[in-house]
Symmetry: C2
Subunit: 230 residues, 2 copies
């Protein structure tokens, strides 16, 4: 069976888990704590990023962008209406732009700060960077989240799905990131009703169910985290 | 004619310029100073990243990853032996892994620090972040460059081209970044003879010639920058 090195609080890992679930590809999940810099994991992925997908021939695919393209080429092409990258090159570019937006820009502006300060630092030993959260980093993440939420609200108000008329990688990249932030109670859904409606639709999909069961040690999710009607 | 918003000191812009030259696609080059946050440019690319490619139908493609995939789908497929993404999904994944490595990881660890501190801060007005270089950021970039150079040396010692037997996007992503660092005299080529041999081969290609003529105001390149025999 293929395996996926991931972390429940890694937005990019959640994106790929959602895609694998959508395509009904069974995968062994292996939780990786990248800050431990395990030698075997470094050999798989010298960039030390998550997720890493290892297929049945033991080829390693590093990073969500590389994995998403590989899955499109080897699985998506056979999915017809359920393919998560459209056929048209211009439409594909819009899906990729937004997928990057959520996995690179939202990650950089918001997610990495809040996850690092609120979750990873609790799990890390002190000599590897663990300790109390840095209030400046928390503030940066919390300031930036509003602009992102407004953009998502605008996109979802103007389109059926995140990148256009059909469900795509862009929806699952966004949902992967927002579900991490929602776990931490960092999203004020009442400020973004269109985004909330879209998230409710994605969250109700069977592919999402396993993520609703994710738990991190010492850090329970907000009470509405697993509610489909939040 | 299509156009490309770029900056001569943006590694990702250089990558796409090299690809466009390899495929002999004439393009209008428009220099963009992203720190000015021009309203028209923000409308094209709200992420405010370079490069942005605008095709003849005035569709905008934002970011080198999105542009590279679009060019592969609309141009690469007709290039036969000269196609810069191989056909095989596993080989494509290795090209994409390394392309990301140079455009994301090398950029994050090294290039952005050195370019920002040594070039952009000279060009920026003070209220937009201009001023004297930050010695801590310079030191970070210069420390990290050695490890990257060793990795490139190892890759090029073990392979004909960066990602395998054939010339690919990975070569041009690496060359885009290294040529910026070389312009600034930040690379000690004598420490990396295999990397140097590889760079000499890429630099000698006709697609590279226009880059050798790039100049930035107030900042001449090192004397060997345009030498094919450095």
């Amino acid at each position: 069976m293929p395996s996926l090195y991931h972390h429940p609080m890694s937005a990019a890992s959640r994106f790929i888990r959602l895609v694998l679930n959508e395509y009904e590809l069974e995968t062994d999940l292996i939780e990786e704590r990248t800050w431990e810099r395990r030698r075997d994991f470094l050999a798989l992925n010298p960039a030390l990023t998550l997720p890493v997908y290892v297929d049945e021939s033991l080829h390693a695919f590093c990073g969500s962008g590389v994995i998403a393209e590989f899955l499109d080429e080897t699985q998506g092409v056979f999915q017809k209406q359920r393919r998560l990258l459209p056929e048209d090159p211009v439409a594909r570019a819009e899906v990729r732009r937004l997928t990057d937006w959520f996995l690179v820009k939202l990650e950089h502006d918001v997610t990495r700060h809040l996850v690092r300060e609120r979750v990873f630092k609790l799990l890390m030993p002190k000599d590897l960077g663990g300790g109390a959260p840095d209030s400046k980093a928390l503030r940066a993440g919390r300031t930036n989240i509003n602009q992102h939420l407004r953009y998502i609200d605008w996109l979802t108000a103007n389109r059926k799905w995140m990148a256009g008329d059909t469900l795509s990688y862009a929806d699952f990249a966004a949902a992967g990131a927002l579900s991490v932030l929602d776990y931490l109670g960092e999203i004020t859904w009442s400020d973004a009703s269109q985004a909330k409606d879209w998230y409710q639709r994605v969250k109700s999909r069977p592919s999402f169910r396993p993520l609703l069961g994710d738990r991190v040690r010492n850090m329970s999710p907000v009470s509405h985290y697993a509610d489909l009607d939040f």
